[in-house]
C-alpha cells in the first residue's frame, strides 16, 4: 500500500488563486470558468501516487456554456423564490426531476476529463439507474412514510378503547414517530449505498473497472453511531441547561451550548464521513486486484475542518487557498492504494462525449458530487 501525496503548497496556490480572482474581477466574471479550470488543474496535477500525477483536462470554453446556463437558472430561481414562493415549488419540482440527469451528466463529464498517469477515467452508468436512485427511491420512501402516517391515523383511534383517554394516542404517536425515523434512516443508508455503488461500479480507469459491494446495514450502523455521538453530549448539555437555567449564568450557558452544538455536530459529521470513506475504500477494487484504503480519522478531519473554518472567517475568505491545501494534504495522505501490480498496462478507452452543462448546473445549485478522492 502506498499513500497519495499532495505536492502543492498554500503560498504557491494563494498566488494562483488571487490572480484568478483579479482576472475574474477585471473580466466582470467571464473568466470564472477558466479560473475554475486552473484551480482544479492545480489540485489534480499536484496529487501524485507512485510519482505519477493526476490531470484535469476540461477547458474554460467547455465550462463556459454550462456556467452561463447555471448562472441564469440560479438568478431566475432566486428571483422566483422571493417574488412568488408558490412558483418556487414548481421550480424545485422541475429541478428535482432533472437532478438525476445532472448527476449523470456531471459524472460522465468529470470522469472523462480526469486522468492519472496519462490514462483517462470514464463513467458508463445508465441514466435510468440514476433516476432510480436519485428520484425513484426517495419518492418510494416518502410514499411509505406517508402511508404509515395515514394507516396510523386511521388505526390508532379505532383501536382506542375509550375516546377520552389520550395515553393510547400518545404511545401510538411515539411508536409511529420512532418507526418513521428508523424508516428514514434506513432510506438514507440505502440511497447512500446505492449511489456509491452506482458511481464506483460504473467507473473505469482505462480498461480497468472499479468494483464495490456494500451493505446497507453497515451504513446504518455508522449513521447510528454518529448520531449517538452527537446526541450524548447534547443531552448532557441540555441537562446542564435545565439545572443552571435559573441564575445569572444563563446567557453564558447559552453561548457555550451554541458553540458546543457546532463542535459536536462537526465531530459527528466528521465521524460519519471518515467511517463511510474507510468502509467504501476497503471494499473497492480496481480490476479485482488493486486495493484501496482510507486511514482518515474523525478527529483529524474535524480538526482541519474546524480550523479551516476559523481561518476563513477571520480573514474574510482570504485564507481559502491555505484551507484548501490543508484539506487536500489531509485527504491524500490518508488515501492508500496498492501499487504492487503497477499501472503500466492501463490504456485510455475512447468513449462518447459528455458535455459540461450538467456539471455546471449542478454546481450552481450546489449539488456536490463527490467523485474525487
Amino acid at each position: 500500500m502506498e499513500a497519495l501525496r499532495f505536492t502543492g503548497a498554500g503560498n504557491e496556490y494563494f498566488k494562483i488563486w488571487i490572480v484568478n480572482v483579479l482576472l475574474t474581477i477585471i473580466t466582470l466574471g467571464i473568466y470564472y470558468p477558466w479560473a475554475k479550470v486552473r484551480n482544479r488543474r492545480y489540485f489534480y496535477a499536484n496529487s501524485t501516487l507512485n510519482d505519477r500525477n493526476f490531470e484535469y483536462h476540461a477547458t474554460g470554453k467547455q465550462l463556459l456554456l454550462g456556467f452561463l446556463i447555471g448562472l441564469v437558472l440560479f438568478v431566475i430561481y432566486n428571483i422566483v423564490t422571493q417574488v412568488a414562493p408558490q412558483f418556487a415549488l414548481f421550480f424545485m419540482g422541475f429541478f428535482i426531476l432533472i437532478l438525476p440527469w445532472i448527476i449523470w451528466r456531471s459524472l460522465i463529464f468529470n470522469m472523462k476529463v480526469s486522468s492519472f498517469s496519462n490514462v483517462h477515467f470514464s463513467f458508463r452508468g445508465a441514466l435510468k439507474t440514476s433516476y432510480l436512485i436519485f428520484l425513484g427511491y426517495p419518492l418510494l420512501i416518502i410514499f411509505l412514510i406517508v402511508m404509515v402516517g395515514i394507516i396510523a391515523s386511521v388505526a390508532i383511534p379505532s383501536l382506542q378503547s375509550s375516546p377520552s383517554d389520550p395515553t393510547f394516542l400518545i404511545i401510538g404517536g411515539i411508536i409511529i414517530g420512532v418507526f418513521s425515523m428508523i424508516l428514514y434512516a434506513f432510506a438514507i443508508a440505502l440511497i447512500q449505498k446505492k449511489s456509491k455503488e452506482y458511481m464506483l461500479n460504473n467507473s473505469f480507469y482505462g480498461q480497468g473497472q472499479f468494483s464495490t459491494e456494500l451493505e446497507t446495514k453497515k451504513f446504518l450502523s455508522i449513521y447510528a453511531k454518529g448520531i449517538m455521538l452527537a446526541l450524548l453530549p447534547l443531552v448532557v448539555m441540555g441537562l446542564g441547561f435545565v439545572g443552571m437555567g435559573v441564575g445569572p449564568g444563563a446567557e453564558i450557558l447559552f453561548i457555550v451550548a451554541y458553540f458546543g452544538f457546532i463542535i459536536v455536530s462537526l465531530l459527528a459529521g466528521a465521524y460519519i464521513m471518515s467511517r463511510i470513506r474507510a468502509y467504501v475504500y476497503e471494499n473497492t477494487l480496481l480490476d479485482d486486484r488493486v486495493a484501496f484504503e482510507s486511514t482518515l480519522g474523525a478527529r483529524a478531519l474535524a480538526w482541519v475542518i474546524f480550523t479551516n473554518l476559523l481561518m476563513i472567517l477571520f480573514t474574510l475568505g482570504l485564507a481559502m487557498p491555505w484551507a484548501k491545501v490543508r484539506m487536500a494534504n489531509l485527504m491524500l495522505e490518508n488515501t492508500l492504494v496498492d501499487t504492487s501490480v503497477g499501472f503500466d498496462e492501463y490504456i485510455t478507452q475512447e468513449q462518447a462525449r459528455g458535455g459540461a452543462i450538467g456539471e455546471q448546473i449542478g454546481e450552481a445549485f450546489d449539488v456536490d458530487m463527490d467523485v474525487g478522492f
Binding site: E12, K15, Y32, N53, Q86, M320
Partner: protein
C-alpha cells in the same frame, strides 16, 4: 536537454527519456537505449504552465512527453505560450500578487458597500411600476395568516385615520410617483405575549398600522410621520431593491465560494446577514429623510417622528424587561439592541429646528 518521461498514446506506461529541439526547429526524444523519436517542433502541443506541476508535451501521434523542468520548457516554447505566459507572470511576481490582493479586497469591499446598493437602486427605478405590484402579490394574505389578527379599533377610528390620510397625506407623494394607490390596513400583531407597535408598507402601496402603534401615538402628527416614513419606502421602491440586492449577494457569494464546497458556508451566512442589515439601515435612513422633507412641506413638526419612535422604544424596552423577568431570556437583548435609533432621533430633531424657523427645506 530536458529530463522526463515519454508515454505511448493513452498509456500509463512510461519510459525515461530526454527532450531537445535543435536549431532547425526539429525535436528529438531520446530513450535510454539511444533510440529516438523525431519530428517538427511546430507540431507539438504544450500544456499551460501552472505552478510547478508536471508539464506535458503532446506529439502529433498522441503520445506525450512529461517533465517537471518547467523553466526549460518555457524557454523552448516562449512563442507558443503568450497568454499563459502572462497569467504565469502575474502569478510569480510579488508586486502583481500585491496588486491582485489590493484589487480583490477593494473590489469586494466597494462591491458590497456601493456597487450592489447603487445598481439595485438603478434597476429598481428602471423597472416598470407594475413590478411592485407583482412582488407584493399575495404578501398581505401571507402576513394575515402568519402574523396578524383582526384589528380591535372601532370603525369610527379607522375611518377617521383613513379620511385624514386621503385628504392630507396621500397626495404628498404624487409628485414622486403618481401610479401608487395607497391603502391603509389596521391589524393587531402579538408576539410572545406582547403587542407589537409597528407600521409596515408593501411595495404596492399597502400600509399596515398595528393597533398598539395607534394606541401609543399621542396625536395625529405622529401617525402622519410614520405613514410618511412608510410612503418613503414605497416611493423609493425599497422592496424591489432588497429583492435585487439579495440576488446579487447570493450570486456573488456563489461565485466566490464556488469551489469551496460548503467549507465557508458558516462565514457566508454570517457575512450576508451583516451586509443585508447594513442595506436595510440605509433604506430606513432614506425613508426617514423622505418623511422629514414631506413633513416640512405639509407643516408637520418632524419632532413628532422622534416622539413616536421614543414612545415605541420605551414600550418595547418595558415589555422586554417584563418577559425577561419571567423567562430569563436576557440574551435576546444582545440581538435586539438598536444603536442607530439615536441617530434617527437626532436627525428628526435637526429637521424640527428647521421647521420651527418656518423653513420648507433643511440641511
Amino acid at each position: 536537454m530536458i529530463q522526463g518521461y515519454w508515454h505511448p498514446q493513452g498509456s500509463a506506461e512510461r519510459f525515461v527519456a530526454t527532450f531537445e529541439i535543435n536549431d532547425l526547429g526539429r525535436y528529438a526524444i531520446v530513450f535510454e537505449d539511444k533510440t529516438a523519436y523525431r519530428g517538427d517542433a511546430s507540431d507539438l502541443k504544450v500544456s499551460d504552465r501552472l505552478g510547478n506541476v508536471y508539464r506535458k508535451i503532446t506529439l502529433e501521434d498522441g503520445s506525450a512527453f512529461t517533465t517537471l523542468d518547467n523553466d526549460a520548457i518555457d524557454l523552448l516554447f516562449k512563442h507558443q505560450q503568450k497568454t499563459n505566459a502572462l497569467v504565469h507572470y502575474l502569478e510569480t511576481h510579488m508586486r502583481w500578487i500585491a496588486v491582485a490582493l489590493i484589487v480583490a479586497v477593494a473590489t469586494g469591499f466597494s462591491f458590497f458597500k456601493w456597487g450592489v446598493p447603487w445598481t439595485s437602486e438603478k434597476i429598481a427605478q428602471a423597472l416598470p411600476y407594475e413590478t411592485n405590484r407583482l412582488i407584493a402579490k399575495g404578501s398581505m394574505k401571507f402576513l394575515d395568516k402568519a402574523m396578524f389578527d383582526e384589528s380591535n379599533l372601532t370603525k369610527v377610528q379607522k375611518d377617521e385615520i383613513r379620511l385624514h390620510f386621503e385628504q392630507k397625506i396621500a397626495r404628498l407623494s404624487i409628485e414622486d410617483e403618481d401610479e401608487i394607490r395607497y391603502k391603509i390596513y389596521f391589524r393587531s400583531w402579538t408576539m410572545g405575549g406582547s403587542e407589537i407597535p409597528n407600521a409596515l408598507a408593501l411595495p404596492s402601496g399597502e400600509i399596515i398600522l398595528t393597533d398598539k402603534f395607534i394606541q401609543l401615538a399621542s396625536n395625529q402628527d405622529e401617525i402622519d410621520a410614520v405613514m410618511l416614513h412608510e410612503m418613503g419606502h414605497v416611493v423609493h421602491r425599497h422592496g424591489l431593491e432588497m429583492l435585487i440586492e439579495g440576488t446579487f449577494i447570493t450570486v456573488a457569494v456563489m461565485m466566490m465560494t464556488g469551489d469551496a464546497s460548503g467549507m465557508g458556508d458558516m462565514g457566508v451566512g454570517l457575512g450576508s446577514a451583516l451586509v443585508s442589515s447594513s442595506y436595510s439601515r440605509k433604506h430606513e435612513a432614506e425613508a426617514d429623510l423622505y418623511a422629514f422633507n414631506k413633513m416640512l412641506k405639509a407643516k408637520i413638526d418632524p419632532k413628532s417622528f422622534s416622539n413616536i419612535m421614543q414612545s415605541m422604544m420605551d414600550y418595547m424596552a418595558k415589555e422586554n424587561n417584563e418577559t425577561k423577568k419571567d423567562d430569563k431570556k436576557g440574551y435576546l437583548d444582545y440581538f435586539a439592541s438598536h444603536p442607530t435609533t439615536q441617530t434617527r432621533i437626532d436627525l428628526a430633531n435637526h429637521y424640527s429646528k428647521c421647521f420651527k424657523q418656518g423653513l420648507t427645506t433643511c440641511k
